[in-house]
């Protein structure tokens, strides 16, 4: 049998030691009438396969797919086609001592993982400006949902005499994130209010003002937002804080932190985001990881694992899991979250990628993305019949164009995976496309796209 090393002789010896006649004897606590019979067909599965057969099977499935590599590629919307350093594969995916270890509960034999988490936290601190980052969440969407719950707890604790249970989702938030927040809020009984984006693609400030009633506890914004537009974060912070609410920012394109003001500097209370852009393959949207950062004062309200520096008995530097009294295994129903397993390997990949880029490389990456995005924006807007949806708004890596509806299929035939038709995700009208650019996008790709749009 695959992966089992016991021989019949081993099994016989072990059974003898146990004093059992057969392995079936070990299942005495399962009523006989529902036990699956040896060689029966109650459980309908394929016969066992070896390496060769499973490779053929998987490759046959893959033959029925296409991927970003087959196209001039302009699709993003939360998952971005960045270059992933081969180092992230070699040092994480293929590194047995990282990939086959588990949660570092025993620090003496897990310093590798613990040190890397500490370094990961430090990198998230460098990116966001916040003193506290946790070890990571499942993804950007669930990180936002958890940040909203934490933001609610912060406000509720401060204003205990009031009932403040409304969550305000402001502006163009990724539809998958908004849906996730909605699910979490419905289950916990929090009320959800959404404030749309104005014509300029930014949060409609008037509508936000109206939504900031005394019941409001948390405001969540995305910047750059789902339509690619960079919000006026500072003024949204001001509005949220004047209403004595907690403000959360979610970031879908983490590379934007290379050039944009840090959330901490903008006055944000909790910053979360999707980390896929940094060192993680697209994989149909997962696994990557969510990052979660906040101020030092709020650390005891945060979800997820956190690693701290400490010392060993001999005074040497060492790292260990910290502040576990927030977590489910200690606090049970009073925990800040139920999260246990997170996305450690993906966070490790991000650490490797950030170190591979380095301070200079990360900045250069940001500049290249901005330059290519600007070029693409101008090139596409110059095409007859194409216009920008938000011509005056600042954008980082994505922007919306208005063109003929239903262009997608024809472009695909020409080897172009154009911008995402927004109506397919309920975020725009037919003919509106969300175009994404990365450092992988070449001038040639952009020219090809522009030409096809003009035809």
């Amino acid at each position: 049998m695959p992966f089992i090393q016991h021989t019949d002789e081993d099994r016989a010896e072990m059974l003898k030691a146990i004093g059992a006649k057969s392995i079936d004897d070990l299942y005495v606590d399962i009523p006989a009438d529902i036990r699956v019979k040896e060689n029966g067909d109650k459980v309908k599965l394929n016969p066992s396969m070896g390496e060769l057969e499973v490779t053929r099977h998987i490759n046959a499935l893959l033959a029925k797919t296409k991927n970003a590599g087959n196209y001039a590629f302009f699709r993003g919307a939360g998952i971005y086609n960045h270059h992933v350093s081969t180092l992230a594969d070699h040092l994480a995916l293929y590194e047995g001592d990282f990939i086959t270890a588990y949660t570092p509960y025993q620090p003496e034999c897990s310093q590798g993982t613990l040190t890397s988490v500490f370094e990961f936290q430090s990198c998230i601190t460098a990116l966001t400006g916040f003193e506290v980052s946790n070890a990571g969440m499942y993804d950007g969407a669930s990180a936002l949902a958890e940040a909203v719950l934490m933001g609610y707890r912060l406000t509720a604790d401060k204003f205990r005499k009031e009932t403040r249970e409304t969550v305000v989702l402001a502006g163009a938030i990724h539809p998958e994130y908004a849906a996730t927040v909605k699910t979490y809020c419905e289950t916990t009984g929090l009320k959800l209010v959404t404030v749309g984006a104005g014509k300029d693609g930014r949060v409609d400030a008037g509508a936000l003002k109206a939504a900031l009633t005394r019941e409001a506890a948390v405001v969540a914004i995305q910047s750059p937002n789902f339509l690619g537009v960079i919000e006026d974060v500072e003024s949204l912070v001001k509005q949220a804080h004047e209403a004595e609410t907690t403000i959360v920012q979610v970031i879908a394109e983490a590379v934007s932190l290379s050039v944009l003001q840090t959330p901490a500097d903008a006055g944000i209370d909790i910053c979360v985001g999707e980390g896929q852009s940094i060192g993680n393959h697209m994989f149909m949207g997962g696994p990557a990881f969510g990052f979660f950062a906040s101020r030092k004062d709020f650390v005891r309200k945060m979800p997820g694992r956190i690693v701290s520096e400490t010392t060993d008995r001999d005074g040497r530097r060492a790292f260990a899991l910290a502040l576990a009294t927030r977590e489910q295994h200690i606090r049970r129903e009073k925990a800040t979250s139920n999260i246990c397993t997170n996305q450690a390997l993906c966070a490790l990949r991000a650490l490797i990628q950030l170190a591979a880029w380095g301070k200079g490389g990360f900045t250069e990456l940001g500049r290249q993305v901005v330059a290519k995005t600007q070029f693409a924006r101008k090139a596409l807007a110059a095409v007859k019949g194409v216009e920008l949806a938000h011509p005056d708004a600042p954008v980082f890596n994505e922007f919306v164009i208005k063109a003929k509806p239903g262009l997608d299929a024809a472009l695909i035939k020409q080897g172009i995976m154009g911008g995402l038709p927004l109506e397919t995700v309920g975020m725009g009208q037919p003919g509106e496309y969300l175009v994404a650019v990365t450092e992988m996008t070449t001038k040639e790709d952009i020219d090809k796209y522009a030409k096809a749009l003009g035809a």
Binding site: L26, Y27, L45, S122, A135, V233, A355
Partner: protein
Amino acid sequence: MSNIPENPADRLLFELSKPGRRCVTFPKLDVPEVDIADALKGAKLRTEPARLPEIGELDLVRHFKNLAKKNFSVDKNFYPLGSCTMKYNPKINVTLLAQQGYTKAHPYLPEHDIQGHLELMYNLEHYLREVSGLDEVTLQPAAGAHGELTGVMCIKAYFEDRGEGAQRTEFLIPSAAHGTNPATAAMAGFKAVTLKEAANGNIDIEELKKKVGPQTAGMMITNPSTLGILEPKMREIAEILHGVGAQLYMDGANMNAISGIVQPGDYGIDVMHFNLHKTFSVPHGGGGPGAGPIAVRKHLAPYLPKPRIKKNADGTFSFDHDRPKSVGKVRSFFGNFGALVMAYTYMTQLGREGVRRMSQNAVLGANYIRVKLRDFYNVHHDRTNAHEVVFTDAKQDKENGVHTLDIAKRLIDYGIHPMTIYFPLPQNTGGHGAMMVEPTETESKESIDYFIECMKKIAQECKDNPELVKSAPHTTPVSKVDEKTASTNPQLYCPMCLG
């Protein structure tokens, strides 16, 4: 912050950094340079570059290789961490996943471009339906706890749909349950009501009958339990819950004991989750990513997260977003798809016979350990156990003042990763620290025998030289770590990363 260590192998990335060092370079920009401030007019910019380390490629590789060396891992060490199912992770899973067809698969590609991925997910759902004996499956949850939350949300939506939402406010949870169970119930807005176990570790049926009622939404039961025991009265428990209109949730983290042996659906459960990173060998990755699919009975299927995957009459596959009663989404896109590919690769290799052999051999190994060590350590419930066995430090504590933590750390000196010692809590194991041992089916008898011998040696050391055990480990890169200070005086980032 201590001083920078002399040996580069002991330094943090930030301490290896030197201005001007570079690893990755980019192709020369093929479009005109722009002035960032000008291009992003109207947006606020960073005041200085993020203080990431500046490092050369060799130093980077060496840094992470040196870190890796400081970990114990399944590839290198016997890792009997109970409840976590640290089995061998076949290399083929990673190799097949690392292909461009997966690495460059985007979630918003048109369905005709991702038929093979949809088919894989469809097949994986089938596999889990068969193993669970339930009707429908979602692959969206990212881990076990996330599956729990999704399942409990479905139960909540079901009751709200029936107009019983306001009435059903409680979830029953056995006291030895994993911490995620009560945390999940609370997160979903339920009151977690604790059920004490009977003296033999089973569910106390009388206690259950007392606590169950019209206010009960459901019960979360882990089977086999976190004490390593198969619950003999599963069907009766299901009947009691259904008798008051409540639902039975099964935490399937321990499916490595019973997959292919019994379909939990036959117990009468309504919903369960799988930990694909335990039972179906998605590598644990130092703490994730995993995947926590849930399987449900028909009446709960309308509430599952969307989209669902459907097979069309012409044999093609598509997403079904039209699910008006769905709880919505519990995360973005389709779950940890890459993890699903690895689990699928594993499962198809096992097949029908393999999945059964997996459970049988896992249970065999754990029972063997119990009988071999029962004279040396207190077995918490010395009866036929499932895939793991719980010992306590009752003997060593009383006779030598040595505790589970000491025994666990001493194991490290023998090259074995400690068993689980932080749970179940002492209140569930007679006031003594627990040691939960799960060998898994992939370990050879020789490895298991070596573990047994080490445990016997440690039992002897507790008598002869308790200090040796209490001061362990002696062979690791760091000695016993001061975990308390990590929490009382946390230092959560390297000061060099922040201005």
